[in-house]
């Protein structure tokens, strides 16, 4: 079952990606070949198998809910594309 162009556009929207008109046919073909390839999994009989949650059967470790580190906002914001007064700037969201 290969993917259609409409499906690829839908997935791109979910993934917040976009593609040039020129790259779409090649992308649809390659993504379709990957989906066809992983479809082999349907052959496996997994009726009595539980999905794996962790390779070593470990459960998530818990820790006390305590403050362990401070956030150094100025240092972190040195990597930000646009900041002002300690805030991250994005295009206007509310008119």
């Amino acid at each position: 079952m290969s993917l259609t162009r409409q499906q690829v556009e839908h997935i791109a929207n979910l993934a917040r990606l976009e593609f040039d008109e020129a790259e779409i046919p090649d992308f649809v073909a390659k993504l379709g070949s990957i989906v066809d390839f992983v479809d082999q999994l349907q052959q496996a009989d997994t009726d009595t198998v539980e999905p794996m949650a962790h390779p070593l059967d470990q459960v998530q470790r818990l820790r006390p809910d305590e403050v362990t580190e401070a956030i150094d906002r100025d240092a972190y914001q040195e990597n930000a594309p646009a900041v002002a007064d300690g805030m991250y700037l994005v295009p206007k969201v509310i008119e």
């Binding site: 990606l17 990957i34 198998v49 070593l56």
Partner: protein, 484 residues
């Protein structure tokens, strides 16, 4: 100096044969001379390396040397390094300077190791040829028209060309073992959770594990001892004691049972690779091991399982790159959606986008059960196969790759052909098992690797087996022409 192993460098520094500063200058000179052709480094940190070497020389003189004092290494550019650009091979992080060191970097630095720079890699570790890097492909020192493999291709090429004695890497589906095999060096991927993932840029969190690319198993043991151990900052780090890996290297192979995986001898395995593997098995038998057949009936489904699980995790992990807090941002966004979409479209390369798209698809409404849940069930079947096999054998052996190094450009346009490169390596990631690749021969002048896989936390057994093999063979000592 550049021909010495880490273990030999340590002895030479202690004996005063040369200083850490002299060693750093010599290696920086080699990088300068050779890396124009290889492109194995994204960033060379000469200034920091000189300062660290000076500190090492002070400590060596004062008798306060740390375990890895003055030993030079390079870090794959996926490990965050404070104050040094950490690009992950992507335009997205071309301008990213980490505010902190990854746990691996921190531990090796605390042990006295000297970082020479950050190595090239497939973008976000997604690739098997190093061709998806934003900084261009890396050349294989054995034949510069060929790929060194990936994703840790820069680390592998730098070690193989003797630009640096050791480098770190990460292995999600073979990204340490495959490049190690294709460049004739030793690559170790520890048990999932053995080495902290903190500060290692995430690709597929249930599979990612940090490890080493070195010239010998002995050097891998030396580094692993400093890298391994519990770290509360990584929620899947395992609280298990770290044995003295170096002390365990001399254990004989007498009484050890090694299983050759029947399913790995498939039509894709080239004749020279198979011959080298069979010769290696005979060598191990000669060293006292008992070699028999092992069965992994579901291993044939490991590549399709991986290409559901890994993209699913990657699509979640890479959602953090949104052009807002760090990383690449598109110019003149017309609104917030345009900012997200164009920053991601322009910041990520084609393979990363394919994986994000695949992952988004298999997790999307209506497809989750058919793909993601199904893959996690098949993953359990594959893991159960290993468990059953380890009830009868101590280690599993097989080829690392089906072929020797392929030409740059040969597979990059066909994702499935590229993915099938990792057909023998992915199983150990799905099951979280420790494994390594050691050089075991050549095919038309190109190195071939032997892969060994162990049960959880059997790193010591793996390293001892590889060390005994390297004591009896000299494949790991061969140097590519022009780099001796």
């Amino acid at each position: 100096m550049h021909e010495l192993s880490l273990a030999a460098i340590r002895r030479a520094l202690e004996a005063g044969d040369f200083t850490a500063a002299e060693l750093v200058e010599s290696l920086l000179g080699r990088i300068e001379a050779h890396d124009g052709n290889l492109n194995s480094f994204v960033t060379v940190t000469g200034e920091q390396a000189r300062a660290a070497a000076a500190e090492s020389d002070r400590r060596l003189a004062a008798g306060t040397a740390r375990p890895l004092e003055g030993l030079p290494l390079a870090h794959k550019d996926i490990f965050c390094t404070a104050g040094v650009r950490t690009s992950c091979g992507s335009r997205m992080l071309d301008n990213f300077v980490s505010p902190y060191d990854a746990a691996v970097v921190e531990r090796l630095k605390a042990a006295g190791a000297v970082m020479l720079g950050k190595t090239n890699m497939d973008e976000f570790a997604m690739g098997s040829s190093n061709e998806t890097s934003y900084y261009g492909p890396v050349a294989n020192p054995w034949d510069t028209a060929r790929s060194p493999g990936g994703s840790s291709g820069g680390s592998a090429a730098a070690v193989a060309a003797r630009l640096v004695p050791a480098a770190t890497g990460t292995d999600t589906g073979g990204s340490i073992r495959q490049p190690a095999a294709l460049t004739g060096i030793t690559g170790l991927k520890p048990t999932y959770g053995r080495v902290s993932r903190w500060g290692m840029i995430a690709f597929a969190s249930s599979l990612d594990q940090a490890g080493t690319l070195t010239r010998s198993a002995e050097d891998a043991a030396l580094l692993l001892g400093a890298m391994a151990g519990f770290d509360e900052r990584d929620s899947t780090s395992l609280d298990e004691p770290v044995p003295d890996y170096v002390a365990g290297l001399d254990r004989s192979l007498e009484g050890l049972t090694i299983g050759l995986v029947r399913q790995f001898f498939d039509e894709g395995l080239e004749a020279d690779n198979e011959a080298a593997l069979r010769a290696a098995a005979a060598e191990l038998e000669g060293l006292g091991a008992r070699v028999r057949q092992a069965e992994l009936p579901n291993i044939g489904l490991s590549v399709p399982t991986y290409y559901v699980v890994a993209p699913a995790e990657c699509s979640s992990n890479l959602s953090r790159f949104d052009g807002v807090r760090f990383g690449y941002r598109a110019d003149d966004p017309k609104d917030l959606l345009d900012l997200y979409c164009r920053s991601r479209a322009e910041g990520f390369g084609a393979e990363v986008k394919r994986r994000i798209m695949t992952g988004t698809y298999v997790l999307s409404a209506g497809y989750y059960d058919a793909y993601y849940l199904k893959a996690q069930k098949v993953r359990q079947l594959i893991s159960d196969d290993f468990r059953r096999a380890f009830a009868e054998v101590d280690l599993i052996a097989g080829p690392t790759t089906p072929t020797p190094a392929f030409e740059l450009g040969a597979k990059i346009d066909d994702p499935i052909t590229m993915y099938l490169n990792d057909i023998y390596t992915i199983g150990a990631n799905l099951a979280g098992l420790p494994c390594l690749s050691v050089p075991c021969g050549f095919s038309a002048g190109l190195p071939v690797g032997l892969q060994l896989i162990g049960p959880p936390f059997a790193e010591q057994r793996l390293l001892a087996c590889a060390h005994q093999y390297q004591g009896a063979t000299d494949w790991h000592r061969r140097t590519p022409a022009g780099y001796a």
